[in-house]
């Protein structure tokens, strides 16, 4: 039986009932109880507790506290057919009726459109009895801060933003989360984690200039609210009196947030199945050696590495698949890009079975960094080495346009500057960008030190049950890249 994930102490049950999430014992006991009559099912239990506060125009708009429980059952394990039930109720005895909706579907599995492969079966040794990597994602400091520091932090935020003479908006959030996947085959995976994030947007009263900054960390004690506020205010003040600059391909210095925004769009490009189908930037066509992917080939600048490690001390993630009938399968640490060479692709459990590959989750959580031995540069050094270019603080509203090329579009936001002769020359209007990070990472000029990046709270209404917030950690460095495509001016501030 696979080992359970956490070697950390269990969550302490605080006085406030909304701050706790299921401990390992509670989650297992619940799974036992819910599967009592239907042990053949796979169950997933995800319990999240959030405390989110929003500040705007010098006042706290609202705070949102609470917890959500999501319990799901699947029957045809490995089939990929979406059959299941889900609920946020764990006590109602009538739930047995709901289970029968799934269990009744067990019988017609033979005529299904997919082979009834069972990844836990003895025949699929690749997937059996692999231990889960131990990870440490739980910080008591964050849990305690949910209650104890919010008032103080918000009071100071409001005061500092008012003092700046700017109109400030901010989001302060804490989250605790636990997840358990449990099946009759002995698949058992549990993990609990905490996270916190503070983002601040400062705008001039005339709404013509804006600055943004953010920090996020699984351990709240590592976040420096005063630094976040000061950086956002500074960025907004520097952005006054913007001028329009002709769009076009230019040297770009991308701040860590801008790089991370692009990196988030890249995860699908590493999908093995899509790559083999010819649908990603790493697909190969008409290869004389019959290869379908660029595995082993250099695809990025040789100074770049991309690694996903569940035990990453600056981020990390649960070391198992999350969601769906593959939930709970172990995922290892993976090096995707090593000195610019494509080393691995992401195999789902089912596709891994077909191809005989070890399954691993894609680089949704990833560390992009300079390869060992590569000299890194600060943003200031990049600016000093730039004859003419554009500094981008962050990007917004990015959308993947073309999976085959990784082409994305979006707009620059909250800090965009023209650089001339090694200095910031002037703030400029935002641009719409139209670029593929798979292309940009081949045109690297300089690379900086990696840090975890905040993305801000923009979970659409109705999505809290499903979306993870803060998002899975992405760690990115600032980068200076050539020929970045600023395709049009954007009037948005």
């Amino acid at each position: 039986m696979p080992a359970l994930v956490n070697s950390q102490p269990e969550p302490v049950r605080p006085e406030s009932g909304t701050r706790r999430v299921f401990t390992r014992e509670e989650a297992f006991a619940l799974a036992d109880r819910l599967l009592k009559e239907h042990p053949q099912l796979l169950i997933g239990i995800v319990h999240c507790s959030h405390a989110i506060s929003k500040v705007s125009a010098g006042a706290v708009l609202d705070t949102e506290d609470g917890d959500t429980i999501d319990v799901r059952w699947w029957s045809a394990i490995g089939s990929g057919i979406g059959v299941g039930v889900s609920t946020n109720q764990i006590h109602d005895p009538g739930l047995a009726n709901v289970f029968s909706h799934v269990t009744a579907i067990e019988s017609p599995r033979k005529p299904l459109v997919v082979p009834p492969l069972d990844p836990d079966d003895e025949d699929h040794l690749t997937f059996r009895r692999r231990d889960l990597l131990p990870v440490s994602l739980w910080h008591e400091t964050t849990l305690q801060a949910m209650d104890s520091v919010r008032g103080d932090v918000l009071s100071k935020l409001v005061k500092d933003l008012k003092a700046s003479g700017l109109v400030g908006s901010a989001t302060l959030g804490f989250a605790a989360r636990s997840a358990l996947y449990f099946s009759k085959y002995g698949r058992q995976a549990y993990c609990h984690e905490t996270d916190s994030e503070l983002t601040v947007t400062a705008r001039t009263p005339d709404n013509k200039a804006s600055g943004w900054s953010g920090q996020t960390n699984r351990d709240w004690s590592q976040i420096r609210p005063d630094v976040v506020v000061a950086k956002a205010v500074d960025m907004a003040n520097r952005s006054r009196n913007i001028v329009a600059l002709e769009p076009g391909r230019r040297m770009a210095i991308l701040g860590p947030a801008a790089v991370a925004d692009l990196v988030r769009q890249m995860a699908g490009g590493f999908d093995a199945a899509y790559t083999d189908m010819g649908a990603t930037p790493f697909s190969l066509f008409n290869d004389p050696r019959k290869r379908t992917s660029m595995l082993g080939m250099r695809v990025f600048d040789a100074r770049i590495m991309m690694v996903s490690d569940p035990a990453d001390p600056d981020g990390g993630f649960p070391s198992f698949f999350n969601g769906g009938d593959e939930g709970g399968y172990p995922t290892p640490a993976v090096t995707w890009i090593d000195h610019g060479v494509l080393k691995n692709l992401a195999y789902s459990v089912s596709y891994g079975m077909v191809r005989g590959k070890t399954p691993c989750v894609g680089p949704d959580s990833v560390r992009v960094m300079a390869a060992p031995g590569v000299q890194t540069a600060t943003i200031e050094e990049m600016i000093a080495n730039c004859r003419e270019g554009v500094y981008v603080n962050r990007l917004s509203h990015l959308e993947l346009l073309d999976q085959k090329s990784g082409m994305v579009t979006g707009v620059t936001r909250d800090g965009c500057f023209f650089i001339k002769n090694g200095k910031i020359d002037k703030p400029i209007k935002n641009f719409r960008i139209h670029e593929s990070p798979f292309f940009s990472f081949n045109k690297l000029e300089m690379i900086g030190t990696t840090e975890r990046v905040a993305f801000g709270y923009n979970v659409p209404p109705g999505m809290r049950e499903w979306m993870r917030w803060p998002p899975l950690p992405v760690l990115a460095p600032p980068m200076m890249v050539q020929d970045f495509n600023f395709s049009a001016l954007s009037d948005a501030v």
Partner: protein
């Protein structure tokens, strides 16, 4: 990613076999559904083949009286703890989604959820707390916790606007339905989908692409410390039905959603009837016809563009409707999604911002998807215009933000306009002023898509684009990449080819100022977006439904969307 994507069907029928067998369709089980022998579904093996309705798979609904007691207890607890104001939404929700998961296989999912969200105000601070455990102890503890959080922040803050006053309401309302969808056996849901599939697949070179029906049944109770106590029983459906032409190479055929299958607050009866089969056949024939145009590469430039209602709906949803959210206008979401170009209110209200051809309104009466008598703040809902012949005349407000509309009230000499547009995605969410269902008024009777195309000497047609148009943090600009599935070149009044590698880029205000003509009522189509479609077995996302006529725009930039990386 679903693993079935990578496997060949083990027991799939050939198309010929499928058509032969399904052509002997029989009448359904008392609902007029064309049952199809020779096909199988998961449901056929289930015990509910014995006519057990879906509702039997769920626990009994919670008694409304119990929900009301809980709601009242929470409000009382908050006031007792020191809140100036408190309100609560308590809900019991059941959802079922049945859909085609593979050519002739139907899958289904059920969701059971209960939730509550307490909102309190202390001094100038608001606090919201939510949970799912419907017990008196838990709900009152949550209410006290929310009050405590607000009280802790009250001394730091000043409230931007006083809360708008509304009448106290103590009433119940049930949305009228003829056939409760939860009283229908799953097998009938499955057979209906298979019958629709059959209708589309029988068109030569046509393919039935997808069909899913997400039904929601909900009892929602609202209570406030002002004395309101409202119970509403709601039922709605979000159907998705699509067809495609040229099934030989599936990625290259034109895909079209079938008109008439639009989100509604109604019962199972709206899914029945011969008209749906006719629409499926007609849409499939349209898709086949459009698929036959040769494909070419787009040349960039600025062109007049005709768009069908569906494609216009994607732009309106992404760039126009959110701009009317008062919270965005006031900058409350500047650190999140962004702001709006329709501010300040005093400067923009009543001004001619768009073409006189453009009028847009919202209507929360049945069978519109957003139908309900009171919103999630207990405010009576009513139909109201947002754009009147190009002029901005209203915003989506809540009681907390409506104070910002005081300039309108002063200008017009009327009370502050509050139309009941506070919406919580579920009881778990803070009520926000936003649009759920919008209708753009049709134009003159003589304006059709064909008449628009006939006016174009060198331009474009966008037709059947059901994807996402993108915007920016200020909603000022937009980007739409319809690709060869939905982008056509028009020369001398005729469609000549499909265009690959092109995308449309626009400034929102300029685009709708350059609107030359809106199509007639027969060109009206509904675009429905559900951001949670791929997020889980039962979508719970943010829904918005936009019904618009086709439109003819003076000019839009066509830019290259082709990415070559090596």
């Amino acid at each position: 990613m679903s693993s079935f994507f990578f496997f060949k069907p083990m027991h799939s029928y050939s198309r010929r076999t499928f058509l032969t067998q399904s052509s002997t369709a029989l009448a359904g089980l008392g609902l007029g559904i064309r049952r199809m022998p020779g096909t199988y579904t998961f449901m056929q093996a289930l015990p509910m083949q014995s006519r057990q309705p879906v509702a039997k798979f769920f626990p009994e609904m919670v008694e409304p009286d119990h929900l009301r007691e809980l709601a009242q207890a929470a409000v009382d607890a908050a006031i007792h703890a020191g809140a100036d104001y408190a309100d609560i939404r308590v809900s019991d929700v059941r959802k079922m989604t049945y859909g085609l998961v593979w050519e002739n296989v139907v899958g289904g999912n059920l969701y059971l959820g209960m939730a509550y969200g307490v909102r309190v105000r202390c001094g100038g601070a608001w606090s919201f707390a939510f949970g799912a455990d419907l017990t008196t102890d838990e709900i009152t503890r949550t209410a006290r916790s929310a009050t405590s959080a607000a009280r802790g922040l009250a001394n730091v803050l000043s409230e931007p606007f006083p809360m708008a006053r509304v009448p106290v309401v103590r009433e119940e309302w049930t949305l009228p339905v003829q056939i409760d969808p939860f009283s229908v056996p799953p097998d009938d849901h499955a057979q209906l989908i298979l019958a629709y599939s059959n209708a589309g697949s029988r068109v030569p070179d046509g393919q039935f692409l997808n069909a899913s029906f997400r039904w929601t049944g909900e009892t929602r109770v609202f209570a406030s410390s002002e004395g309101s106590l409202i119970t509403q029983r709601l039922t709605n459906v979000i159907p998705t039905v699509g067809v495609r032409g040229t099934r030989a190479w599936m990625m290259r055929g034109v895909a079209l959603p079938v008109p008439g299958f639009q989100p509604r607050s109604a019962g199972f009866e709206i899914m029945l009837g011969e008209a749906h089969y006719d629409r499926i056949r007609a849409a499939t024939e349209d898709a086949v016809r459009l698929s036959r145009y040769v494909r070419g590469t787009a040349d960039v430039g600025r062109f007049p563009v005709a768009m069908d209602g569906l494609s216009v709906g994607t732009i309106i949803r992404s760039s126009l409707v959110p701009a009317f959210e008062l919270a965005r206008v006031l900058g409350y979401d500047a650190d999140g999604e962004g702001t709006s170009y329709l501010g300040p209110v005093g400067d923009v209200h009543g001004q001619q911002v768009f073409s006189t051809q453009l009028s847009m309104s919202t209507n929360p009466t049945p069978p519109h998807y957003s139908a309900r008598r009171w919103d999630d703040e207990g405010v009576a809902t009513s139909a109201f215009p947002l754009i009147d012949r190009g002029r901005v005349v209203n915003y989506f407000a809540t009681r907390a933000t409506a104070g910002a509309l005081a300039p309108i009230a002063a200008k017009t000499g009327t009370p502050i306009p509050l139309h009941g547009s506070a919406v919580s995605g579920s009881a778990h969410h803070v009520p926000n002023g936003r649009g759920v269902e919008l209708t753009v008024s049709p134009g003159d009777d003589g304006v059709t898509i064909d008449s628009m195309i006939s006016q174009i000497n060198n331009g474009l047609l966008v037709c059947g684009f059901d994807g996402r148009a993108m915007s920016d943090q200020g909603l000022i600009s937009g980007y739409m990449a319809p690709n060869s599935h939905a982008l056509f070149e028009v020369k001398h009044g005729k469609i000549i080819r499909r265009l690959e590698g092109g995308a449309l880029q626009f400034n929102t205000k300029k685009l709708f100022s350059n609107l030359i003509a809106a199509g007639n009522a027969r060109t009206m189509q509904t675009h429905a977006i559900n951001t949670g479609v791929s997020a889980g077995p039962v979508p719970m996302g943010w829904d918005m439904v936009v019904t618009t006529p086709a439109m003819y725009f003076k000019e839009i930039d066509l830019v290259s969307n082709i990415g070559k990386i090596r």
